[in-house]
């Protein structure tokens, strides 16, 4: 990070060079509705009226504002507001220019953050919202740019409705995974969600779990944190609990073909969670007779982790240790465009990577998980 001109120009050149070489499969791209009414065409009159009158109802204190006000409007980098006048991520042409074209993105995997259907307090409305979102994603995004691939969003608290939604889209190659919120009523390993895993495994769809949603539970085991600076970190901590739940409940024993991708939690925590789980499993395995392997093996065989927000060790080379410990094939690159904590391909992983390592992280691992040719 030298301020000297020469170094900076070299970095520029390096970025230009790496940009021309790097092909990126971006495992976390956020599109957005331009207006809440964008869903109207896909909702019945009953639910259109409900949306306009009662709105989205989540277990949160405010109608619209975030419970923990973010560090930037719309959670987004301030240069990502598009010329169409809508919020960041709402203008396909601008998203193409600022992300897909600029960074040589081969595929961009869409995760819609707002609204969600799954954590709606009115579950029938939640199911209607999910269906509407999926239709909207298909018509307005994946059909308009073949690089963009959607996730089937499902009303996961109502497993039956979720499975119906999965089956509705499963044969459509525009949809490459199933997505649920992560702040769920019960930990995601519990039985109420198993029909969803059954359907995903049966239909060959990975389950992408992007940090998101509201469930009314305190955001830490010790109560409600005070600041956004805490919340932003605690969402990653909650993804650790999610991984622990999936493993301990035996989800991967029951559905050996299931693949789970943890999105937007960073990944440097994966080894230490694996170590801790294994050590205590050694002492308490009689509580989990349904597991036939050490917990770390499920984390290593059934789960993948996206890079963003890129872990920035105090000594950059320590990131190599993390990749060694967790397995290089587990690492999927993600930008999280257009959010403020996004990562810039080629400049976020501050580690000297070989060409093979680069190819794995930036594209080939994702290609394998999602079955891209």
């Amino acid at each position: 990070m030298s301020p000297e001109d020469g170094t900076i120009l070299t970095a520029d050149a390096a970025e230009r060079q790496s940009r021309s070489r790097l092909r990126v499969i971006d495992c976390d791209v956020h599109h957005a509705l331009r207006s809440p009414k964008d869903l109207h065409p896909y909702l019945s009159k009953r639910w259109r009226d409900h949306l306009d009158t009662y709105g989205h109802r989540f277990p949160v204190p405010f109608t619209d504002g975030s419970p923990y006000p973010k560090t930037a409007p719309a959670l987004s980098r301030t240069d990502s507001w598009p010329p169409n006048g809508g919020p960041p991520g709402s203008d396909l042409a601008f998203l193409q220019k600022q992300l897909l074209d600029r960074h040589n993105v081969e595929y961009g995997l869409l995760h819609l953050l707002a609204p969600h259907g799954m954590d709606q307090r009115n579950q029938d409305f939640g199911a209607a919202v999910c269906s509407a979102i999926n239709q909207w994603q298909y018509e307005h995004w994946t059909q308009k740019d073949r690089r963009l691939k959607a996730a089937i969003v499902v009303p996961g608290e109502d497993a039956q409705a979720a499975v119906a939604e999965i089956e509705r889209w499963a044969g459509n190659t525009d949809f490459v995974q199933v997505s649920m919120v992560t702040h769920t009523i019960e930990p995601l390993g519990r039985r109420r969600y198993w029909p969803i895993y059954e359907a995903a495994a049966r239909l060959g769809l990975p389950v992408g779990l992007h940090t998101s949603g509201y469930n009314g539970h305190a955001i830490t085991g010790g109560g409600w944190a005070s600041y956004y600076v805490e919340e932003q970190h605690n969402v990653a901590i909650s993804q650790q609990a999610l991984a622990i739940s999936l493993v301990c409940e035996g989800v991967f024993e029951r559905f050996p073909a299931l693949k789970v991708v943890i999105v937007e939690a960073g990944l440097a925590w994966v080894p230490s969670v694996a170590w801790r789980l294994d050590r205590h499993f050694d002492r308490m395995r009689d509580e989990l007779p349904h597991l036939t392997k050490k917990p770390s093996e499920y984390l290593r065989q059934h789960m993948w982790y996206t890079t963003q927000p890129a872990d920035e060790p105090e000594r950059p080379e320590d990131l190599r240790r993390i990749f060694d410990w967790m397995g290089w094939d587990r690492v999927l690159y993600a930008t999280d465009y257009p959010h403020w904590d996004m990562d810039n391909p080629g400049q976020s992983i501050k580690l000297r990577l070989s060409e093979d390592e680069q190819r794995m992280i930036y594209a080939d691992n994702a290609r394998a998980v999602y079955g891209f040719a």
């Binding site: 990070m1 030298s2 301020p3 000297e4 001109d5 900076i8 120009l9 970095a11 520029d12 970025e15 560090t71 930037a72 980098r77 301030t78 240069d79 403020w340 904590d341 996004m342 990562d343 810039n344 400049q347 976020s348």
Partner: protein
């Protein structure tokens, strides 16, 4: 190092900025209440276009719960990750010893002086009647 004429003095209003390209580098020129500052338009963290960021005040604190707000408009927040840089020095707040953005010398010069040279005015025809913003790169 050479002196480059990059704007007329009236062109950047107080609180405003202009991003110029000098010798292949994008540089942001800021007018802070009549004082001019110039920074490289590139955040050393991940390469964001720093000079398109929001100008904010400096907030420090003597004790928890106290917000000591000063120097409004003198801290530049990167549009991406929000790292704050002092527009006077290019020094980052979060990592002042190791993370700085290149700051350039800026002066306002009467056209009459510039006419005597040496300076580089790639995009400007300099007239003796006006004042100009000159950045040393």
């Amino acid at each position: 190092m050479a002196r480059h004429v990059v704007a007329t003095a009236g062109e950047i209003p107080p609180g405003g900025r202009k991003i110029v390209t000098v010798r292949g580098r994008e540089i942001g020129i800021f007018n802070h209440g009549g004082e001019y500052f110039a920074l490289l338009n590139r955040c050393p963290h991940q390469g964001g276009e720093l000079c398109r960021g929001t100008l904010v005040g400096l907030v420090t604190s003597r004790e928890p719960g106290r917000f000591d707000y000063s120097r409004p408009g003198e801290m530049l927040k990167c549009p991406w990750h929000g790292w704050e840089y002092d527009i006077r020095t290019g020094q980052s707040w979060c990592d002042p010893n190791d993370t700085r953005v290149k700051a350039y010398e800026v002066t306002v010069e009467p056209g009459e002086t510039l006419a005597r040279g040496p300076f580089v005015a790639e995009t400007f025809a300099v007239s003796v009647e006006q004042d100009y913003i000159v950045v040393e790169v």
